[in-house]
């Protein structure tokens, strides 16, 4: 219960930020768009005429394609802009936790420092999870009702997006603990987020380099850092209902998050405030 209070307080603190309100507003707008602007005239149960804002498509389109197009679009939006916004909105959660006058009060409570940190971490995950599932569940319901196809893989994609955020936020937590700077933590996390697609092409990069050591470094970085590009691929595979081929990417990324959180906890436990 004591630990849950930290999670709840973090949730409230995040919810008080305008960024999350904006996120929620955009999600609501997208849901309303699907609800009122998207019309499907099902012709023979598998095919449909689609119209958006009254503009009809020229020919019959496979319902499955419509569904995958819409849900895939939402997943891409959440995986890119959603995570980008969520990281931005939560970047100050750890530095604000460490402020004088605030951290003193929390440590004086019957909670271990690890519990305080983990409570903060889970609070951030819960607010982002709430925002992402708000859009995922409502858009899934609307699309499923309109197409009469219930794609449960889309819901799993929501989990994959939250997992990706949780992995990246673990890095931001460590950076926040070390530097106490929200903007700096955010910059490093964005750097890691954007470096992933390049590391996926490490063989091509290595071909341009002469020394073997570069290959080891690139491989080391590839396996150690979060493999966000492949996590994006997993998200799309969930949406499309095809077997996931990159479980190792999820596994090594989760190990990365555990290492980040354990390091954060260790450093946080030794700090004086």
């Amino acid at each position: 219960m004591k630990f849950l209070a930290v999670v709840q307080l973090t949730f409230r603190e995040s919810f008080a930020k305008k960024t999350f309100m904006g996120f929620l507003g955009i999600s609501t707008f997208i849901c309303l768009l699907f609800l009122f602007a998207l019309n499907l005239d099902i012709v023979d149960g598998a095919q449909s005429y689609i119209s958006i804002f009254g503009q009809e498509a020229d020919q019959l389109i496979d319902l499955q394609k419509i569904l995958l197009g819409l849900e895939g679009g939402v997943a891409v939006l959440l995986f890119t802009a959603g995570i980008f916004l969520s990281l931005f909105a939560t970047s100050n959660l750890i530095p604000s936790l460490l402020r004088q006058g605030s951290i003193d009060l929390l440590i004086s409570k019957p909670l271990s420092r690890t519990q305080i940190l983990l409570g903060r971490y889970l609070g951030a995950i819960s607010i982002v999870g709430f925002n992402i599932f708000y859009l995922v569940i409502f858009s899934w319901l609307i699309i499923s009702i309109k197409t009469t196809i219930w794609n449960f893989g889309f819901l799993f994609a929501g989990f994959a997006i939250i997992l990706t955020f949780a992995i990246l936020f673990s890095l931001m937590t460590l950076m926040g603990i070390i530097t106490r700077s929200g903007p700096f933590s955010l910059m490093i996390t964005y750097l890691i987020l954007f470096i992933s697609p390049f590391l996926l092409q490490r063989d091509a990069i290595y071909a341009l380099l002469s020394a073997k050591i570069y290959g080891y470094i690139l491989d080391g970085l590839y396996y150690f850092l979060p493999r966000t590009a492949e996590l994006g691929l997993i998200t799309q595979q969930f949406v499309r209902g095809i077997p996931v081929t990159a479980w190792s990417a999820a596994l090594t990324s989760i190990i990365f998050a555990i290492v980040m959180l354990a390091s954060s906890s260790l450093i946080f436990s030794r700090k004086n405030f």
């Binding site: 409230r12 006058g101 605030s102 009060l105 440590i107 409570k109 019957p110 004086n272």
Partner: protein
Amino acid sequence: MCAIQTSGLTKYYSGGKVKALEDFTINVEKGQIFSLLGPNGAGKSTFVKIMLGIVHPTRGNATILDKNIRDYSVHSNIGYLAENHRFPEFLTAKQVLYYYGKMSGVEKEVLDEKIPQLLKTVKLQDWINVKIRKYSKGMLQRLGLAQALINDPEILFLDEPTDGIDPVGRREVRDLLKLLREQGKTIFLNSHLLSEVELVSDQAAILKNGRMIEKGTIEDFISVKQQYQLKLENGQQQINSVCQKLNIPMTSQNGMYTVSIEDDAQLNHLIDQLREQKTNIQAVIPRKITLEDFFIKVLETGEGMGK
């Protein structure tokens, strides 16, 4: 059982270049108000932070209610008002007490009953649902005090509790502290306001540059040994002659005569002599100084145990 016990508590920063606290040893009995005095940077807040696990000691041991301070479970019995505390501004007073109460392990049902009571005690009952970003410094301080009491703690650590509170409010805080002492709570007080400390504290210690230079009861601090003030009715001539005869140094101010005597026997002899001369003695009062006078004297001369 001692409420607080420390032995050789020391905190160095920057590899020993900054000595925030050095070899600090105290025992605070249960049910006392103990004050820690000292100029800015003397180590008062460092000590409280060490006791609460906010700062790790370089060496030394400390217990609260016989539990090692590393055991955070003891915090269930502690209330803490931090200096310059900061609550999330988007919360109302009720929500602050709810969340911090829950973090202290207080059940929801208890909180529902206790929050209005506590806010009434600190005179914030009319502000219960107002976001605290609208509060003045004094109101935030009162809320901090309520937060420190939310778990009905056995020990209270209060760092500058009357900071920003007006004189009437300060008096109310003083009365509250006395009431809490009557309820058997132990209060550890850090304050710059020596006049207040003098009014409520049982014991105090003075810190200077991280070292304890004096420790004792407030009564010991402010009493001047072997000096008494006599209030007489028209007895100026008599006391002058008796003091001359007994070779007792005497000064007078505003109708009060201050005598420096060697021992109790000499005081009794002086009184006997005055009575023989039919002098009406209205009062014999041990001479006292203010805690502020004592504090400044100790700091300036460096007198005390640490010297």
